[in-house]
Chain length 308, copies 2
C-alpha cells in the first residue's frame, strides 16, 4: 500500500539527498534559491514540463526514469547552447494514490542524473493531486559571455553535422538517452561552432528551426543519415530513413561549422561517439533531401516517403 506523505517530509528527504552544493548556493528552504553572481558568464535558462501519458507512461517507464528524463531534456537544451548546467528547480504534481515511495523514486532518478552533470537541485515545489504525474524542471546553466551557440548563426556553405545516431528513440531510448553536454563542450573547444540545436522533434523539424532562425536553406544527403540500430531492421530502407529523419526525442546535437572546420572534424573526431557530415547549408531557402541518384526532394517531416 502506498505510504502517506506530506510535502515537508518529502522536502526534507530531498534535502538529505542533496549535499551542500559545490556552487556556494543557499540550499532548499527559503522563499527562493539564491545563486551568487556569475561574473563574465551569461545565464542560460531552460524549462520543460513532462506529463505522464504524453512524455512517458508507466510501464515501460519507472518513476526513476521519469525523473531522470525530466532533467535530461533540460540538460540537452543547455548542451545545445554549449553551456554548462548549474542548478535545477523541480516542480512536481504527484499522484496522491501512489504515495511517498513513488515520489522519492522520481526524485532519486532526477538527483542521480544531476550528480553526473554536477548540477544541484536548489529548489522546487511539491504538490499532490488526483491527476497523473507532472514534472517541471527549470534548469539554470551558464556560458562565457556571448559564447552561447544559437540556432541563428548558420552560414551559407556551412557543413551540417549530427552526433550519434537517429531514429527509433520512442521505444525506450527517450528515457535513457545521454544529454550531449560533454560532447558540446568538446566541440566548442575544438572548432568554431556556428549554429546548434538538440534534436527533440526530429531531424527534419529541428533543422528547420536552424534554417528559419538563420534565414538559410539546406541540402541533406540521404545516404549520410546515421540510422540507429534501434530502428527495426524489418522495415524497408525508405521506412528506416523516414524514421531517422522524422522520429523525435533522439536528443543528439545538430550543428553547423565552416567547411574547413568540418574537414578537421572528419579527420579527427574528438568525440567518443559517431559524428556525421550530413550535408550543407545553402543561401537559397528550403530544405532538401538529396537522393542516391543526385535528385532533390523537399525534406519534410512526413509525407515524402513515397517519393524515395
Amino acid at each position: 500500500m502506498a505510504a502517506a506523505f506530506n510535502e515537508f517530509e518529502l522536502i526534507d528527504w530531498i534535502q538529505s539527498r542533496c549535499p551542500v552544493p559545490p556552487h556556494d548556493l543557499l540550499s532548499i528552504g527559503d522563499d527562493t534559491a539564491v545563486v551568487p553572481p556569475q561574473p563574465g558568464r551569461e545565464l542560460l535558462l531552460a524549462t520543460d514540463m513532462l506529463m505522464e501519458g504524453t512524455h512517458f507512461t508507466f510501464p515501460p517507464a519507472t518513476p526513476e526514469l521519469a525523473g531522470r528524463k525530466a532533467l535530461a531534456v533540460n540538460l540537452s537544451d543547455i548542451a545545445a547552447m554549449a553551456g554548462e548546467p548549474h542548478s535545477a528547480l523541480v516542480s512536481l504534481a504527484l499522484p496522491r494514490s501512489r504515495g511517498a515511495d513513488f515520489a522519492k523514486a522520481v526524485m532519486q532518478g532526477l538527483i542521480d542524473l544531476a550528480k553526473e552533470y554536477r548540477t544541484e537541485v536548489i529548489g522546487g515545489d511539491t504538490n499532490s493531486w488526483e491527476g497523473p504525474l507532472v514534472i517541471n524542471v527549470a534548469l539554470l546553466g551558464t556560458a562565457p559571455q556571448t559564447k552561447s551557440i544559437m540556432r541563428s548563426s548558420a552560414h551559407a556553405g556551412d557543413w551540417i553535422f549530427v552526433t550519434g545516431e537517429l531514429g527509433g528513440s520512442l521505444a525506450s531510448h527517450h528515457l535513457t538517452f545521454t544529454p550531449r553536454v560533454r560532447e558540446a563542450a568538446i566541440l566548442k573547444e575544438t572548432v568554431s561552432l556556428h549554429a546548434m540545436i538538440d534534436i527533440s522533434d526530429g531531424l527534419a523539424s529541428d533543422l528547420q528551426h536552424i534554417l528559419t532562425e538563420s534565414g538559410m536553406g539546406a541540402v541533406i544527403r540521404s545516404q549520410q543519415i546515421p540510422i540507429s540500430q534501434r530502428v527495426s531492421s524489418e522495415l524497408s530502407a525508405a521506412e528506416r530513413l523516414q524514421k531517422a529523419v522524422s522520429d523525435g526525442e533522439d536528443f543528439e546535437l545538430l550543428f553547423t561549422v565552416s567547411p574547413e572546420e568540418g574537414q578537421r572534424l572528419l579527420e579527427q573526431n574528438p568525440l567518443a561517439i559517431p559524428l556525421t557530415h550530413l550535408g550543407e547549408i545553402t543561401s537559397e531557402e528550403g530544405a532538401f533531401l538529396e537522393k542516391e541518384d543526385g535528385s532533390l526532394i523537399p525534406l519534410e517531416r512526413t509525407g515524402w516517403q513515397h517519393q524515395l
Copy 2:
C-alpha cells in the same frame, strides 16, 4: 467551439505579446533563454506549479486569473527576499478540449501582470493533453550581493511585523492579490530587515518557518492581528481570529526588525498599506499567542480555537 491550435502558433502569439525585452535578453526561440551577466547581483530563483482543481477552479477563476496567479505567487517569493523580479519561464499543460483562445487568455493574464512588474517572459514550454490546466512558472530575480532577506536571520527581541490584512483569501483574493514586491523594496530601503517570508500557508505556519530557520521562538498578541474584512463578520471573534492566523494565500509579508527600527516603522509607515506590529521574537523556542488577559497558548495552525 474551441479553435484548434498548435504549439508553434501559440509560441508565435506569445512572442508577439512580448516586446523586445528591456533587459537585453535574447527572446523566445532558441534552446534556452539567455540573460546577460548581472554584475554584483545574486540570482534569486523561484518556481511554483499551479494545478486546476487544487490552486484554482473555473469558475470562479477565469483563464486570465489562473495565468495571473501563476506569476503572482512567484513574484511574492521574490518579494519575500526583497529582490527584483527579472524574467520568467512559463510551462503549460493545456486542456486540449479548451482550445487556443483559452490558452491565449491564460498567457494574457500572466503577461499583463508581468508588464506591471517589469518582468519579461523569456521562454517556456507549451503542451496540450486531456488533463486539467497545469501552469508552472520559474521566475528569475536579482538582488545586490548578500542583500537578500532570508528566513534565517531573526534575532531575539526583534519586533514582528506584517503587511496588509490576513484571512479569508481563499474566497477570491488569492486570484487577485498584489505581490508585495514594491513594498519589500521600500521596507529594505527604510530599515534593516532581519528575516522575511511571504504568507502563503498562513501566519502560524509561515512564522514557524522563520522560527525554525532562525532557531528562535515568538510571541504574537491576538489583539494585534489585522483581521481582513474578507473574513465573514458572521463568525465569532474566535473563529475570525483563527482564520486570520490559519488561512493560507494571503501573500502578505511577515518580517522582523530591531525594536528601534520597529519603532520607526510605527511612527512613520513608509507603505501605502497597513503595517502591523504583531509581537516579538524570543530566544526560547516555541510560538505562542498572547491572549487579551496576558496568558499564553501555543500558536498552532489548527486546534487552538477552543482555548480562546
